[in-house]
């Protein structure tokens, strides 16, 4: 089987996972007494049915693309980063602090880059905390990243009830961003969308075309072999968690500077968790994260319409995510074993051993 055939089979598997998830949801809806037909057609209309719907899909996909890239990078290295949610939130928080408190009067040429950089740095810091805890104290990043998510949620709450609250003081939200802090946009399509797509290409390049990327993949495929080759899995984990955090932090900055124009609680409806589904459906392939993010973005955009028009709760999106994760991850394992050959089998097992 050549590489092209394998790619095609991967695509077919991903589509099958999506189909299975949607079919399961339709069945669940029917069993619970909702009419699945109108629900699914509202889902389709709300995500693809008009130019406004398409725009909503792309806007929802952008944070999923960035967080999905961060998660995919980490999972590739055997680093279980469940913390994209917290990294995104702290990124949004730092971006807002710069835009509405620290550099409010700076010109756009200074302010906007500062806002975006603050977001990336904030996310980086949160990821690096988990990386440092693992490297120096042996704390599993699975636990630390999850706990940091909860800390981040409360940090945002603290900020919008306290130091970053709007001048009017009426609601728990930040002041609106000054115009110079907003991402340039055509209609609602902000610059962050293009940057996110470029970063997907850059991440692909980093992973497959650079020495660092080679080390990252080596650690993910066979950590013990990598250690013998002089690569430190702890340092790679720290680096990857920082980088993944920065990508998620950027997603947070783009949300506040490109979509909402201010910070409030619940600014992320769980993008960081959806990111796990996005990364796995893409088989941890940075370029494939683009269509995967578009699918889950469409699902979120459509779920809103489904709730409004068909009265079906938007929580079905989590069901689709869960099933898509299970089906695509299970395929990956089965394929790894079947592809046979000593090397492929050992690699598949090594990937699992890093868990």
């Amino acid at each position: 089987m050549n590489r092209r055939d394998e790619r095609l089979i991967d695509v077919a598997r991903a589509l099958f996972a999506i189909g299975l998830a949607l079919a399961a949801v339709a069945l669940a809806l029917a069993l619970l007494g909702f009419a699945p037909g109108p629900a699914l057609s509202a889902l389709a209309r709300g995500s693809l049915g008009s130019s406004a719907a398409l725009t909503a899909t792309v806007l929802k996909s952008t944070p999923l693309l960035l967080t999905g890239l961060g998660v995919a990078l980490c999972f590739r290295c055997g680093v279980w980063n469940i913390g994209a949610e917290g990294q995104l939130l702290v990124g949004a928080l730092c971006a807002t602090a710069v835009a509405t408190r620290f550099l409010t009067d700076a010109p756009a040429g200074v302010l906007l880059p500062a806002v975006v950089a603050a977001g990336a740095l904030g996310g980086f810091a949160v990821g690096a905390i988990a990386g440092a805890l693992r490297a120096s104290r042996g704390v599993s990043e699975v636990i630390s990243t999850i706990l940091l998510n909860f800390v981040a949620i409360q940090l945002v709450a603290l900020a919008v009830h306290g130091p970053l609250q709007e001048a009017a003081g009426a609601y728990p939200k930040s002041d609106p961003f000054p115009a110079a802090a907003l991402l340039p946009a055509i209609g609602r399509w902000h610059l962050g969308i293009a940057i996110a797509a470029l970063l997907a290409v850059a991440t692909e390049g980093l992973l497959f075309r650079t020495a660092v990327g080679f080390r990252m993949r080596a650690v993910g495929l066979a950590p013990r072999a990598a250690r013998f080759a002089g690569i430190s899995p702890e340092r790679i984990a720290l680096f990857t968690l920082g980088l993944g955090g920065a990508l998620a932090g950027l997603a947070g900055a783009f949300e506040v500077a490109g979509v909402t124009g201010q910070l409030y609680e619940g600014i992320s409806p769980g993008h960081g968790y959806t990111a796990i589904a996005v990364a796995l459906l893409a088989k941890l392939h940075p370029l494939a994260v683009i269509p995967s993010a578009l699918f889950f973005g469409a699902l979120e955009a459509g779920a809103g319409a489904m709730q409004r028009e068909a009265g079906v709760p938007a929580s079905v999106t989590q069901i689709v995510q869960g099933i898509a994760i299970l089906v695509s991850a299970t395929f990956a394992v089965a394929a790894g074993r079947r592809r046979g050959g000593m090397a492929a089998g050992a690699a598949a097992d090594a990937v699992e051993e890093t868990a």
């Binding site: 636990i143 909860f150 306290g162 929580s315 995510q321 299970l326 299970t330 868990a355």
Partner: protein, 301 residues
């Protein structure tokens, strides 16, 4: 002081139940981060069954059963299919949030009623003891069950044949296999049993700590239970102490809040997570996890 101790013990119970379940699972060499979702499922199913049957006791049984079912789902993918444990756990969490949210809307259409609860039962004589009596011996059955089960689990792990097998599978799966122990069977049983406890832990939230189900009501307690197991260094006595520690932190949080200290509310909510992270930073490096924790076992190798 007495009230604080009482609250600490009460709030520790759901954490302890879930953590004991996870302890069993992890001693068998499996990490199940789906505890959060399993608890949430238990909270919902327990509540729904209690409302439907007007019996909190039946609710608890249903919650335990639901927990076992979620565990069986986890085991199917993580053990039978060999899918990564962390990934399956995360999927379980997402599925649980989605499914309980959807089912709650379908059943109660946004107006969730209050249901029956298991009321506190003061133990005769013991609850008359000065100071500790009311604090320790006037609780809901969940509290007695949690601490009683800690004894049972501790004894079973250390002193029974099944416990020995479970630990062998968690420490050196291949050696256990060579000794004729079925690694998969032991792990699946541990997961189903442990998840049943997580289901009951969920019921402790919807049938004792409150009288209703709210979406996402576990609010991260399942994840804290994971930390409790690490903090408790994978022993049942350690897990009891760790759960009490978190119960106390939780009780202090409510106390400080009620006394109206001028501290922002989010700081209180952040407190248990920051405490957990800090504790892990000091404990994790020294704690010794089961050697084969998180390592899938493939017989054909």
């Amino acid at each position: 002081m007495e009230a604080l101790l009482e609250a600490a013990v009460r709030l520790a119970a759901p954490l302890l139940l879930a953590a004991l379940g996870e302890l069993i699972v992890e001693r068998a060499g499996v990490v199940n981060i789906g505890v959060e979702g399993t608890m949430l499922t238990g909270a919902f199913v327990g509540f729904a069954a209690a409302v439907a049957s007007d019996s909190a006791g039946l609710g608890v049984a249903a919650a335990a059963f639901a927990g076992c079912a979620v565990g069986a789902l986890f085991a199917f993918f993580a053990i039978a299919r060999g899918t990564d444990q962390i990934v399956v756990g995360m999927a379980v969490n997402l599925l649980a949030v989605g499914a309980t949210g959807l089912a709650a809307r379908a059943l109660y259409a946004g107006a969730t009623p209050s249901g029956p609860t298991l009321s506190s039962a003061a133990l005769p004589f013991a609850s008359d003891l000065p100071f500790v009596g009311p604090a320790l011996f006037a609780h809901t059955p969940f509290v007695y069950a949690a601490f009683g089960l800690a004894l049972v689990v501790g004894f079973a792990l250390a002193r029974t044949r099944a416990g020995l097998r479970l630990r062998a599978v968690g420490e050196v799966a291949r050696a256990a296999d060579a000794e004729g122990v079925s690694v998969a069977r032991v792990r699946v049983s541990a997961i189903v049993l442990g998840s049943g406890l997580a289901g009951i832990a969920g019921a402790a939230l919807s049938l004792a700590q409150s009288d209703t189900f709210t979406e996402g009501m576990t609010a991260g307690r399942g994840f804290i239970a994971l930390a409790v197991v690490i903090f408790g260094r994978w022993s049942s006595s350690g897990v009891v102490l760790a759960a009490l520690f978190f119960g106390l932190a939780n009780a202090l949080q409510f106390r400080a809040q009620a006394q109206g200290f001028d501290i922002p509310y989010p700081l209180f909510l952040m407190f248990p997570y920051v405490v957990t992270l800090t504790v892990l930073a000091f404990v994790a490096a020294h704690a010794r996890a089961p050697a084969d924790l998180g390592t899938p076992y493939h017989r054909e190798r």
